[in-house]
Amino acid sequence: MRPFAYVRPADVEAAVHAVATEPGAKFLGGGTNLVDLMREGIERPDTVVDVTGLPLDTVDDLPDGGLRIGALVRNSALAADPRVRAHYPMVPQALLAGASPQLRNMATVGGNLLQRTRCPYFYDTASACNKREPGAGCDALGGFNRGHAILGVSESCIAAHPSDMCVALAALDAVVEARSVRGTRRIPIEEFHRLPGDTPQVETALASDELVTAVELPAVPVAARSRYRKVRDRASYAFALVSVAAALEVRDGAVTGVRLALGGVAAKPWRARAAEEALLGGPAGEEAFRRAAEAELASANVRPGNAFKSRLAEATIVATLRELSTEGDAG
């Protein structure tokens, strides 16, 4: 691994100062993505600012009924939190569907948000990749692109965002709190991750000197009845081909509340607004679910390797909504 200086600040002020004065600095959470990428020579920080000593590891109640999740809360701890399990079951389900128990014990919420794509050409420094080296080209376009994105793609990059947790956060309108020497700002999750356009190297709205301090979940009553469903090549310990985070409320046969987001299909966790619109106020049933899913996937831009994802995403949306509409208790 390329040598770097290491600091472990004890408070947030010192942490944001450390990156502000060191242009080549990067924050380190659990290390499960950054250490891997540094070893591969893809990330090359001069200074690593270890944030795991910061007091940002609690889940606190918000006055409006929501939750404030510290950026250093481990993925396993968040999955076990009784409030998250009761009010937002899709969040622990997404977390527990991701990585392995060992990795979840290490991984932090902040690191999960900022984890980078698993595109194999991004990982292989001998391949052309616009994300790694802007202007170099994209070997995935005509290569092995079974795992790649089908929504919001560009001719520069078709990488998919790998996080499960973020898909649930997108469905819930989470807000990311970021801190730098310039102050604190709040970034809605839908604006946090970026589509590639012609700058696939710009992945988030976060500046390189901004520290994620927390993620806030607003009160979302409909989410008490929610599901995360993940489709992958093996039963566990694999990234999603397609995943669905869904919440559904049905009264007298009509959809009175719905939240829907997709994973594995875009460079960001994909909030399925078109499908939500198609569903809201209409009948809750197989036909309506299928039409809503088709509306969302209508803009899919597929390659030979990942063309199957369009149908798979539609079927997974329908199956998840069906499950939510027919089960008595979706906890």
Binding site: F4, Y6, D36, D50, P101, Q102, N105
Partner: protein, 155 residues
């Protein structure tokens, strides 16, 4: 170089490490504890699983400096009935994944006792639960059935 102190298998260790040294390489190459194995060095196999303050982690993705002040347990420091159970149930063939499997299983039993949920969501440690909770440890020899039986005996 950064000086770190760790308690490894009960012994106090103080050593100067490069910040980029992984916990796995530090255990194996600096402390001579080669029981912990390197399979993939990228978090994808679980062969490097150790316990840090009782919690199972992948030592290959851990920087040693991050574990300054921690208590680390590797297979060399384990004395647990699971070891006999693995022998009784043929829980291994080549044995390469075994140190990681056993450290992981010890961490898993503690997690389950503390109420950590899993994707399976069964009540009690059923076979499905154990398979899911042990899915972070791959076995190239496919000794999964023996591993499962050994853990079932101890659950």
């Amino acid at each position: 170089m950064t000086e770190i102190r760790m308690k490894v298998n009960g012994a106090d260790e103080s050593l100067d490490v490069e910040p980029w040294a992984s916990l796995l390489d530090t255990l194996r190459e600096r402390l001579g504890l080669t029981g912990t194995k390197k399979g993939c060095d990228q978090g994808a196999c679980g062969a490097c699983t150790v316990l840090a303050d009782g919690v199972r982690i992948n030592a290959c993705l851990a920087l040693a400096v991050q574990y300054d002040g921690s208590e680390i347990t590797t297979i060399e420091g384990v004395d647990h009935p699971l070891q006999e159970a693995f022998i009784r149930h043929d829980g291994f063939q080549c044995g390469y994944c075994t140190p990681g499997q056993i450290c992981s299983a010890i961490g898993m039993l503690a997690e389950h006792a503390a109420g950590m949920p899993s994707a399976v969501g069964a009540t009690g440690l059923t076979e499905d639960e154990i398979r899911e909770r042990m899915s972070g440890n791959l076995c190239r020899c496919g000794a999964y059935n023996g591993i499962l039986d050994a853990i079932m005996e101890l659950r």
